[in-house]
Symmetry: C2
DNA sequence: TTGTAGGCGTTATCAT
DNA sequence: ATGATAACGCCTACAA
């Protein structure tokens, strides 16, 4: 592989001069620059990032560590992070780290954003430092070098429950995914809490565990309907996809939404407003979540201190999947 | 930051010994090993990947370069690549490289898989070499160090067209996304080709450009229906999401699918069989696509030569969105 | 304006 | 079984 030394030799200049040229120093005369650039192109020179970074002691890369690529893949979140990272002149890499977490261990990145339940708190506490800040999106953890940017999940579900209670619902079910999802569990927690606040009881029997996909929502709800005699008059789902699947199952059974069973989702994905019926849901600004996470990480990298992290705003969006005709007209 | 030298000093051994211990050499006595490991833990030692890789002249990381994180994000594809990469003891990073392509330029990865129309053929030709193999998923390119693993797009659409023609359709429309998508354009090309093979004419007016999302399919079809008096009796869509959106638009207009307009999608995403009506489509094994891409890259890294790359299999799946009652019964 | 040389943290060869 | 030491490719004072 061509090194800078080869380029220098070919251009008949010293290594230092070649380095200056490659790095765009303007202490070098134009003829010399041309010679070096020409030689570099001729030889197909590519700088060695490892050597550069070893010297500079930083990579200008931040890493996003996910648990996998299937399932709910947060496109907007990634966009938010990516935009911020690029703006700062950094690069972002996303990895589904296996159990060795090599990329995390061996300082390939200057900071990390974690959304991966496989990575243990213990490891994060070990890694995080002054020089290696971490932002977590999927847990709470006490460490001066780790900041958490979590969604106001409980609050969102509180809105949903209140909405349904005000419409007169007394028995409300909940659809969620695996227990490994922090957001899912927090939403469930908010559900239980608000139910009790409103004087309703939480029934384990009306909790459906799917896996956050539309298909799983459909299948789980189908099973639920087949195996139960009586149903709640409303369901809240931990995300929109499962709500849509569940609604399809209900409709296929010949029941009406929202008249027989009302539904409220979570996230307000693009499709929710076009769904039939349009889905009531909680809008989450995932892109802002990503931006906030990345900006927080950069503040930590810049050794800023004492800053406040703003909550990610949410908004309850009532639509037809929970509002009957009369209710829609009146509010 | 703690270095191996610090560890060695603390353990009162030489740098070399510390290195041996960290790398699990068994030439070292157990007591010495213990001393070093203890010191390393005490100091929170983390190896410096840059230094290691500089020395070893390889990173054992392969990179997947995408054009962005929104839009159709090929979860299965990523899974396929990831599985293969992990099996080989490598890591995978995925990046949406900006215009500087630093990660690609500066040898942060030992090989690359490209699905990013922003990256020019010229750059790939410049980068690819004996030591830096590249697999492209989104173009055709002539270079001994670049292999292409593309989908049999044209063939898939050929099945779809034949299916519709055999059902008696004479005017068939096509829904696709941006021209920047290689797969989309190839599917369109296959559409035009097969139409003419079957003696039908291709009409520009029946080509709908959306952006591969369900929402865009819905909106574009709505516009199409509003702006035209007469419609094709069938549409083929370059992916399932747009087909579903378009079907919703058609249904909202009070028309029947497939009786008034039949639809065929592409990809056979999970949801297609649960859609109402279930969507006729072309099944693509995207995970196998990822596996094939990654395996091909590793063969190139291993300097294997003369191997054949198998085509990714596809299969036409007829469902109700293109089959009327009688047709379903009889076949 | 250009060259010399030391060092970034490792690994690995060669001694001991 | 362990230690010295020379690379790996690059950057950057400091010299010239």
């Amino acid at each position: 592989m061509t090194t800078l030394k080869d380029v220098a030799r070919k251009a008949k200049v010293s290594l230092a001069t070649a380095s200056y040229v490659i790095n765009g120093s303007d202490l070098i005369s134009q003829p010399t620059k041309d010679k070096v650039l020409f030689a570099a192109k001729e030889l197909g020179y590519r700088p060695n990032g490892n050597a550069k970074n070893l010297k500079k002691n930083k990579n200008e890369i931040i890493g996003l560590f996910l648990s996998g690529f299937t399932g709910p893949f947060f496109g907007e979140l990634l966009e938010g992070i990516q935009d911020t990272v690029i703006e700062k002149g950094y690069e972002m890499v996303v990895c589904a780290s296996d159990d060795k977490h090599r990329l995390l261990m061996e300082r390939y990145v200057d900071g990390a954003i974690i959304l991966n339940y496989h990575i243990k708190d213990e490891l994060l506490n070990y890694l995080a430092s002054d020089k290696f800040p971490i932002v977590v999106l999927d847990r709470e953890i006490e460490n001066p070098f780790i900041k958490q940017i979590t969604l106001p999940n409980s609050l969102g579900v509180e809105h949903s429950v209140n909405h349904l209670v005000e419409l007169g619902h007394k028995r409300i079910g909940f659809i969620t995914g695996s227990e490994e999802s922090y957001d899912g569990e927090m939403r469930l927690k908010g559900f239980k809490k608000t139910l009790s606040q409103r004087g309703l009881i939480y029934r384990e029997i009306d909790l459906i565990r799917a896996d956050f996909t539309e298909t799983s929502g459909l299948l789980s709800m189908k099973t639920y309907l087949d195996e139960h005699e009586e149903y709640p008059t409303a369901f809240i789902s931990a995300n929109d996809e499962m709500a849509m699947g569940a609604i399809k199952a209900v409709q296929q059974k010949g029941l009406q939404v929202p008249d027989d069973i009302a539904f409220v989702g979570y996230d307000d994905i693009d499709l929710s407003k076009h769904f039939h019926p349009p889905l009531s849901t909680v809008r989450v600004q995932k892109k802002l979540w990503g931006i906030t996470a990345a900006e927080t990480l950069f503040k930590m990298l810049d050794k800023e201190t004492g800053f406040e992290v703003e909550d990610i705003p949410i908004e309850f969006i009532p639509r037809s999947s929970s509002l009957k005709g009369g209710e829609r007209d009146s509010g």
